[in-house]
C-alpha cells in the first residue's frame, strides 16, 4: 500500500510538472498576451480588408512602426513605473522640455566645433533630471505620484515655454553641425528607420531589464508588495527614484526622435503622451496597481493603437466616428484579452 501511494504521489508530481510546463508556456509573454496578439491580428485583418494592399504594403508597416516608435519608447518606461506601483503624468511635458532644451543648445549656444552628441547628452540629462526630481518628491517627500508628476507636468511645460519663448525652435535654421544629428536619427539600416530600430532596442532592453535582471525583479517586488520588498532588504525609496529616472531617460530618447523627425523643438511636443502611454501599458495587461506587467503586452498595446490610427486615415473616416469606434474597440480588446487569459490560467 505504501508503495502504491508512493507511485501515486510520483504520478501526481509528474502531472504537476507537466502542468507547470504548460503553465510556463501560458505564462510566457506570448501566452499571457494571446488575447492581445489576436486583437492586433483582427485589427490588421480589418485593415487589409478595408484598405487592401494600401494597408499590407511594407511602406505602410513602416509608417505604423514610425508612428509607434516615439510613444512606444515612452510606454516602455511607463511600464516600469506602473509595475513599480507608480504613475507618471509628466512624460509629455518632459519630452517637450527635453526637445526645447536640446534644440536651444543646438541653435543658440553651441560653438561651431561642438559635436551633436552634446544635444543627445542634453536631452537625456534633462529627461533624467526631471525624473530625478519626480522620484525624489515621490520616494523621499512622500508626495503621491499622481500629484508629483502632475506638478511636474505643469512646471516642465511652463519652463519649456519660457525657454523657447513659445516659439518653435528650428534645427539648422542658424544652428551648427546638426546635420550629423539628423543624419543619424533619420537614417535607415537594412531598409528600416533608425527610429524603429531605437524603439526595438529600447523594447528589447526593457524586456531583458524586467525579466532577466535583479533590477526588474525588484521592480515587481516594489510594486507588488512594498512592505515585503523593504523587509527583504531592498531600498524601496532608492529603487523608486531609479524608476522615475529611467522613464525620464526614455522621455529624453523620445524627445531626440521627435526633434530629428520634425527638425524642431517645441513646448507643444508630446502633448497627450501621458494618456497614450498609460493606455498602451494598461491595455497591455499591466496592473495599474503595480506588481505585474509585461513589456510584450505594452508593445502590442502601442501597435494596436497606432495601427488603428492608420487604418482610420486610410479609410477616410470622420474623426467623430473614429472616437466612437475607438472606445468600442478598446473595450472589445480588453474583454477578449480577459477571456483568453482566464482560459489559459485554468
Amino acid at each position: 500500500m505504501s508503495q502504491d501511494s508512493v507511485r501515486v504521489e510520483r504520478a501526481a508530481l509528474e502531472t504537476s510538472r507537466e502542468e507547470s510546463r504548460f503553465r510556463a508556456v501560458m505564462n510566457s509573454s506570448v501566452g499571457r498576451n494571446s488575447g492581445l496578439v489576436i486583437a492586433l491580428l483582427i485589427v490588421c485583418i480589418v485593415g487589409a480588408a478595408t484598405a487592401g494592399d494600401r494597408f499590407t504594403s511594407t511602406d505602410n508597416a513602416l509608417t505604423i512602426l514610425r508612428l509607434a516608435a516615439t510613444t512606444g519608447v515612452v510606454s516602455i518606461g511607463m511600464t516600469f513605473v506602473i509595475i513599480g506601483g507608480g504613475i507618471d503624468l509628466s512624460v509629455g511635458a518632459i519630452v517637450a522640455l527635453s526637445s526645447v532644451w536640446c534644440t536651444t543648445i543646438a541653435t543658440q549656444q553651441l560653438a561651431e566645433d561642438t559635436h551633436w552628441l552634446w544635444m543627445v547628452a542634453v536631452a537625456l540629462l534633462v529627461g533624467a533630471g526631471c525624473g530625478l526630481v519626480n522620484g525624489i518628491l515621490i520616494a523621499y517627500g512622500n508626495v503621491v505620484a499622481f500629484i508629483a508628476t502632475l506638478a511636474m507636468l505643469a512646471s516642465a511645460r511652463g519652463l519649456a515655454e519660457i525657454i523657447s519663448d513659445k516659439k518653435t525652435q528650428i534645427l539648422g535654421a542658424n544652428g551648427i553641425d546638426v546635420k550629423g544629428f539628423k543624419d543619424f536619427f533619420t537614417a535607415d539600416i537594412l531598409g528600416v528607420d533608425v527610429q524603429i530600430w531605437l524603439f526595438a532596442l529600447v523594447a528589447v532592453a526593457g524586456w531583458v531589464l524586467l525579466n532577466r535582471t535583479t533590477f526588474g525583479r525588484r521592480t515587481v517586488a516594489v510594486g507588488g508588495n512594498p512592505e515585503a520588498a523593504r523587509l527583504a532588504g531592498i531600498n524601496v525609496r532608492r529603487h523608486t527614484v531609479y524608476l522615475y529616472v529611467l522613464i525620464g531617460v526614455c522621455c529624453g530618447i523620445a524627445a531626440l526622435m521627435l526633434v530629428a523627425k520634425t527638425t524642431t523643438g517645441s513646448s507643444t511636443h508630446g502633448t497627450g503622451y501621458e494618456l497614450d502611454a498609460i493606455a498602451a501599458v494598461v491595455i497591455g495587461g499591466t496592473l495599474l496597481t503595480g506588481g505585474r506587467g509585461t513589456i510584450v503586452g505594452t508593445v502590442l498595446g502601442v501597435l494596436i493603437f497606432s495601427t488603428l490610427s492608420i487604418i482610420f486615415t486610410l479609410n477616410n473616416r470622420s474623426f467623430s466616428e473614429q472616437s466612437l469606434l475607438k472606445g468600442a474597440i478598446i473595450v472589445a480588446a480588453v474583454l477578449l484579452q480577459q477571456r483568453l487569459a482566464s482560459r489559459s490560467s485554468t
Binding site: 535583479t214 527583504a232 532588504g233 531600498n235
Partner: protein
Amino acid sequence: MSVLLQMTGIVKEFPGVRALDGVDLDVRAGEVHCLLGQNGAGKSTLIKVLSGFHQPDAGTITWEGEPAPLSTPAKAIERGVGTIYQELDLVPHLDVAENIFLGHEVSVGGFTQRGRAHQQARELLDRLGHPEISPTRVVGDLSPAKQQIVSMARALSRDTRLLILDEPSAVLDQGEVENLFRVIHDLTRDGVAVIYISHRLEEIRQIGDRITVLKDGRTVATGLAVQETPTAELIRLMTGRSIEYVFPPRPDTALDRGAAVLEVRDLALAGVFTGVDLTVHAGEIVGFAGLVGAGRSEIIETVYGARRATGGTVTVDGKRLRRGSVAAAVRAGVGLAPEERKSQGLLLDQAVYANITVSSMSRFARLGFLDRGEERRQSQELTSSLDVRPDGVTRAVRTLSGGNQQKVVLARWLMRDCRVLLLDEPTRGVDVGARSEIYQLIRSLADRGVAVVVVSSEIEEVLGLADRVLVVREGVVVHESAATAIDEAEVLDLVMEGKVPA
C-alpha cells in the same frame, strides 16, 4: 552557549499606544527561545524592532557583545537575522524562487541566473520537506500554508544566525508542524538561534529551551527553562490570572436537538471538492477536520456563496440560496469569519465599530442614515465583552494586534443575529485566555439556537468543541460521526491515510 543577542529596556510607542515598555531579552546561539504573551502583548512589535522594521524609541541592542543598531531591514539581514512574519510577506506575482532570493538574487553583474536560482530553491524546499512546491509557481497561487513554507525557505536562503518565527504554526497542520520542528532541530544543531512565537503551549513544550513572557509590552519573566515551568504558571504570567484551559461542556442533548437549519446537498466545486452533504441543526456545532489544502475552506466559502458552486444546493431554513451570492446568504442569516482576516475579513483603515457593523448596517439605519452613536455603543458592548485590547471602538483596526483583529471579525457576526455561523480557523493567532472565551462564546451561540460550522487545523479543537465531526481529505468527506465517537489518533489516521510514512 554564548549570548548572541541581548535587548535591554526596549521601548516602542505608536500614536496613542505604548506597544513596548521596557523589554529585556537575551538569546543564546543554538537555543530555541520562546516568546509568550497575550494578544497585543507586543511580541510582533518586538521582532519587528529586531528585524530593523521599527526603530525603538529607547533601549539598547547588542549583538555578540557589541552595540548593534538595526536601523534598516537590510542591516538586520546583514547581521544574520532571518524573519518569518506573522502576516505573509511575499510578492504575489513573483514565482517561488524569485521570492526566496528577493533582495539577494542569484545574479552575475545584475543579470539573474534563473537556472541556479531554481536549483538552489529546489534544494531549500527539499530540505524543508516540500519537494512538491515548484520553484516556478507564482506565489499568489499557493495556499497560505505553502506560502508560509516559501517564507521559511527565504529565511534559510540567507546565512542566518538568528531565525525568528512569528506564529508559524498558525497556518500549518500537525504533520507540517512536526516537519517544521525537524527543520528547527537541524538548525539549532548548527548553532543557529531561534526565537519562536506561538499561542500553542504544547508546541512550546515540544520545541522550546527557554521562555520569555511579555505582558502589556513589558518583560514579566525571562530565561525560564521550559522543563521546569508548569503550564499553569505560564498562563498566570501571561494573563495575570489562572485560566481553566478547557472546552465548554456539551449539553446532553447536543445531537439532533433542533430543527435542521443549514442543509447542503451534493455540493461541488469543480476541481476542488465533490458530493458534500451536510446538515446542521439549530444549536449544533459541526467541526471540519482535515489537512491544510484538503479543501475545507473552499467548502464553507462555497456554502456561503463566496465561490460559485458547480453543483448541488444549499438551503437555510428550507429556503434555497442563490448560487454564488454572498448577499443572499447574508440575508438568509449566514455569516462567515474567513480564514485570512487581513485580506478577506477586515477594512484595515476603518474604525473598529465600522468593521463590526458593516454586515448589519440596516439595523442602525433609518432611510439610509446611520445612527453612529448607537453603532458605537453596541459595538463597545461587544468589544468589552470580548475583551478586545486596546479598548475603544474608534481606533483603526490596522493598529490592533493579530488576535484582537480576529475578535473584531467575530464581533461582526455576533452583532448580526445569525442563523448559521461559518468559522474558518476561529482561534488562529488567538491567545490562551481569549481562546477559551471564544470557545465559550461559540457554545453560548449554539445554545441560543445558532447552527455553527467550525473549520480548524487543530484536531484537538475540533474534537473538543464540536458536537459532530466531519473529516475531509482531498475534497471528499471521508468520515462523519459524533465528536465523542472518535479520538485524535483515529482522526489523524483518517486525515493522513494515503500519506507515505516518514
